[in-house]
């Protein structure tokens, strides 16, 4: 390793503030201008990110979130009820209906008995005939009305219970239907996604026939069609299949079809070849970097540019290309794309 190159571990430690103050001060004083510049970049970026306010859930969003999660997990609302107790509270289930009916019947019997007793007393006591006639039927009517009311109340309660049971079944059925609908929507979404991917692939094939041929040549050993470090080469790979990308680039380099040049020439060469991301690639490298490959193509179906850029050491294909050496940028804005070899 080049002793003059800034130690990335040291820069990371200084950025994170992991070193004791005196040690950090000594280490920082020993940095050369290049390392200082790098440290400044790292610190600036970190401070900018640390200063971002954290988005927060509003109170309403919090409540909604917890309610939905609770509902989905079929948990009871907080406070007094436990899951077991809640099943026993509220309106009685249909199993209690016979008890209610029996109770209602008992009330009716008592009412009739009371009515009979009352009539007996009235009969024994001397009263005017009109009073007897008036009160006896009235008492009977009141008792009957009470019994009827109680019976009606019981029947109404039974109807409510039945209705609640039905409502629960309806809600459960609706929930099942919603879940099924969601699954269907998800399936349709995936079909749409797949269809869109297929469409993109078809469009690429139809509009870029020569591109396809060039990409196919890249996979073969036809070195004459290989990128040779120029924009004429095209590639097409997916970040989901990184080993394939590394293999293709490795082959291009091994077969000598790519011309290496120093990174100091990258911007001019990329510009002359009509490539947009030379400056971005160069900025990610130290001055002693060497460019072994650069080409336009497609990554995950997007227009992109790839650069194989190695710093401070000759490339050793036997050891394999290191993940960090391959730079991928999506167009048109040269957004960096991750590229990890597993």
């Amino acid at each position: 390793m080049n002793e003059n190159r800034p130690d990335p571990e040291l820069i990371a430690a200084l950025t994170a503030g992991d070193l004791p103050p005196e040690e950090a001060a000594r280490a920082e004083a020993s940095l050369d201008p290049e390392a200082r510049a790098e440290l400044a970049v790292q610190r600036s970026a970190r401070q900018a990110l640390e200063g971002l306010p954290s988005p927060r859930l509003s109170a309403a969003e919090q409540q909604r979130l917890r309610r939905r999660v609770r509902n989905e997990l079929r948990l009871e609302a907080p406070a007094s009820r436990s899951p077991e107790r809640s099943r026993r509270t509220g309106f009685p289930r249909s199993g209690a209906l016979p008890v209610l009916t029996a109770f209602a019947s008992l009330v009716v019997v008592l009412a009739i008995a009371l009515n009979t007793a009352d009539r007996g007393e009235f009969e024994s006591a001397p009263t005017t005939a009109s009073d007897t006639d008036v009160f006896a039927p009235a008492t009977t009517t009141a008792a009957s009305a009470a019994a009827t009311t109680t019976t009606a109340r019981s029947q109404a309660q039974a109807a409510v219970v039945t209705s609640m049971v039905t409502q629960t079944e309806i809600v459960e059925a609706e929930a099942d239907a919603m879940a099924a609908a969601e699954e269907a929507v998800e399936e349709v979404t995936m079909l749409v996604v797949t269809s869109m991917v297929d469409t993109v692939e078809i469009e690429i094939t139809e509009d870029q026939a020569s591109t396809t041929a060039a990409a196919g040549a890249l996979e073969s050993s036809d070195t004459t069609a290989l990128p040779a470090g120029t924009e004429s080469g095209l590639f097409d790979f997916s970040t989901a299949g990184p080993s394939e990308a590394v293999r293709l680039i490795s082959e291009a380099v091994a077969e000598g079809s790519s011309t290496a040049f120093p990174v100091s020439e990258l911007v001019d060469r990329a510009g002359s070849e009509g490539m947009a991301c030379g400056e971005t690639a160069a900025s990610a490298s130290a001055p002693d970097g060497v460019v072994y490959f650069m080409a336009r193509g497609f990554v995950d179906g997007e227009d992109a540019e790839a650069y194989l850029l190695v710093e401070g050491r000759p490339i050793d294909l036997a050891a394999g290309i290191e993940p960090g050496d391959v730079l991928l940028f999506s167009l048109p804005d040269c957004r960096a794309m991750e590229f990890t070899v597993r």
Binding site: D7, P8, I11, A12, E34, A35, A37, E38, A40, V41, Q42, S44, A45, R46, A48, L49, E50, G51, L52, P53, S54, P55, R56, L57, S58, A59, E61, Q62, R64, L65, R66, R68, V69, R70, E72, L73, L75, E76, P78, S82, P83, E186, T189, V192, V193, V197, S283, A284, S285, A286, E311, G312, E322, G324, D325, D333, R335, A336, E338, T340
Partner: protein, 195 residues
């Protein structure tokens, strides 16, 4: 460290109590983690409604699988890993470019949040630059620099080696600074250092 250990023990206790049927434990766990899960989701997805959905989905998944939580990693690590994966699933379902401008309504409806910011005028530019980074870079920066999680936990959440986290952090910051330009303290282009 002491605060972190206390948080770990608290979460483990709450999980056990939740599994034993203590619904108050459910609320306590939600309260302890819902804000951060939402913040991570929103930063990755950059859409408030989608972030709310992802947050909901995360907690549903975690509570449903609570019985299978072995405690090898911290509960929070597992929770945030589910959150990140849920967000990535959401992005894949979108079937369009993941980087978008910050939509209106990015801020929460109530303004009771602390809006202290050293350079408030840079905030939109920083958010944009963060959004333009590729997901693996952005995820590391969000978890490490924005949310302040230790690198070891970031590695566990993302299930990548520590070296990969450091590398992505290093390069992600460099790319972010490059996009912002005015954050550089010198006029020179940033010069990199390979990990």
């Amino acid at each position: 460290m002491i605060r972190r250990n206390r948080a770990l023990r608290r979460d483990e206790t709450l999980i056990r109590r939740y599994l034993a049927g203590d619904l108050q434990a459910f609320d306590s766990l939600m309260e302890a983690h819902e804000q951060r899960v939402f913040a991570i989701s929103l930063r990755i997805l950059r859409n408030r409604e989608e972030a709310l959905d992802a947050t909901q989905e995360t907690f549903i998944t975690v509570f449903r699988k609570a019985a299978s939580f072995k405690g090898k990693a911290a509960f929070s690590t597992w929770l945030y890993r589910v959150a990140v994966n849920t967000c990535y699933d959401q992005i894949r379902k979108r079937s369009r470019h993941p980087s978008r401008p910050i939509p209106e309504g990015y801020d929460p409806p109530d303004r009771s949040v602390d809006s202290r910011m050293e350079a408030a005028e840079l905030r939109p530019a920083i958010e944009e630059a963060l959004a333009d980074l590729h997901e693996p870079f952005a995820a590391v920066l969000i978890l490490s620099d924005v949310e302040g999680l230790p690198l070891r936990e970031v590695a566990e959440i993302l299930q990548v080696p520590m070296g990969t986290v450091k590398s992505r952090l290093f390069r992600g910051r460099k790319l972010l600074a490059g996009q912002l330009g005015n954050l550089l303290t010198s006029g020179d282009s940033p010069k990199g250092e390979k990990q």
